[in-house]
Amino acid sequence: MSEQEIREGMLLAVWDEPPLDFDPDTLIRRVEQKKSRRRALVAVGVATAVIAVASFALPGLLPRDRDSQLGAETQTSAAPSATPSTPDRRRHQKIGDALADRLQRQRPEFKEVYGSFNWSGPGLKPEMPLQPVSTSQDSDDLYGFVYFTDAIGPTALLVTTGSAISPGQLCNSGTALFCRDVRQNDGSVVTEAEFRDGSEVVKAVSMRTFVDGRRSVIISSYSRNPSTGNGIRQNIPVGVDVLTALTTDSVIAWE
């Protein structure tokens, strides 16, 4: 088979070609449609990527601290009342840290002083608070302990904030050795009380009612460890003077 035969064969092979129905305008239209489809696809892809990146990046960019300006604005617009709509565990922990620090200053001989307000136990046990305290997620109430170890052993102070009770309710919560109101310079009132069981002092309480009169903080010292109900001792580890110093300490952001 010669090269010439191959040439002729190829020419003959296309001899019966079907009629060509080709329109350049149709082809141009198709290309333009394809181009616009591709542009739209790219735009959708870019938009999807931007949304995906933003959804991952935004939570990291927003301030995490609720005390910051943005958090405060959100809080103000969502709930005009003083009570935030969600528990602020970080604020509670700050109070705990400040309490531990101030108690350590008051009583340098105490060891292992730390506060814990992330109470996750069932109900408010083992020590029931003197005031109504809510542990629900929506409440700003506080229930926790400042732990420390003194010469006798480990124990704790019970710290609560919640709806205020009257001084009379506090005074009648046991056999009071004394129960008195002490007006502070800022207008708030501190109720100090010590309670006895027989001849022994079993509880000291300092309650400061905030200026608005609706909420209060109560710090109690027991002759047993209020966080466990055990560790009974003859005397309370901390007197009302120290408790009042803590409830009135301006460094601690009670309100």
Binding site: M1, S2, E8, G9, M10, A13, F22, P24, K34
Partner: protein
């Protein structure tokens, strides 16, 4: 694209579409696929028209695009090639010379059976050399390879084609020249 450029492309496409389709047919052996290949090639050229419109030999560029399009198409794994295992019944056509008809049928067989059995790149070289009548240098440009490669591919392609045609002739009783 500017109107003048668009008009230039329109004229080029209208003038060369048939020729490109014929070449594509000899590459793939199917008129429908050939038309698709021709249109795909022209679409690619339209997209690049601004850049290529001033080339000296646009038809050579078009052949190159066509060849690349066909080779790319062949490489696609999902491509399903038609299985040609059936035979169309012979229909007598009284209006044509029997000798001519026989030659045409043989030519069709050359393309459908023999040429399609030649490996793709060798087939492309044969089509460009003997159908398009391109020189070795022009084929090398279209294939994107050296002239030496074109020559060796041509020699191998011819040898393969001759072997296949010889087998066909032996089976049909025709004497190979």
């Amino acid at each position: 694209m500017r109107k003048a450029d668009e008009q230039g492309f329109r004229e080029f496409a209208a003038a060369n579409a048939a020729s490109l389709r014929r070449t594509a047919y000899l590459f793939c052996g199917d008129w429908h696929t050939a038309e698709d290949l021709m249109q795909s090639s022209l679409m690619k050229m339209y997209l690049a028209w601004k850049r290529i419109k001033d080339l000296d030999n646009l038809i050579a560029y078009a052949r190159k695009v066509l060849l690349r399009t066909w080779l790319d198409e062949k490489r696609r794994p999902w491509r399903r090639a038609e299985q040609r295992d059936g035979e169309l019944p012979d229909a007598a056509d009284a209006t044509v010379d029997p000798d001519t008809t026989s030659a045409k049928l043989w030519a069709r067989e050359l393309v459908h059976t023999a040429l399609l059995q030649v490996p793709p790149r060798q087939r492309a070289v044969l089509v460009l050399r003997y159908f398009e009548d391109l020189s070795v240098a022009e084929v090398a440009v279209a294939m994107g390879c050296t002239e030496g490669t074109v020559k060796s591919q041509t020699a191998r392609g011819l040898a393969t084609l001759r072997t296949i045609v010889e087998k066909l002739d032996n089976s049909s009783g025709r004497v190979a020249s």
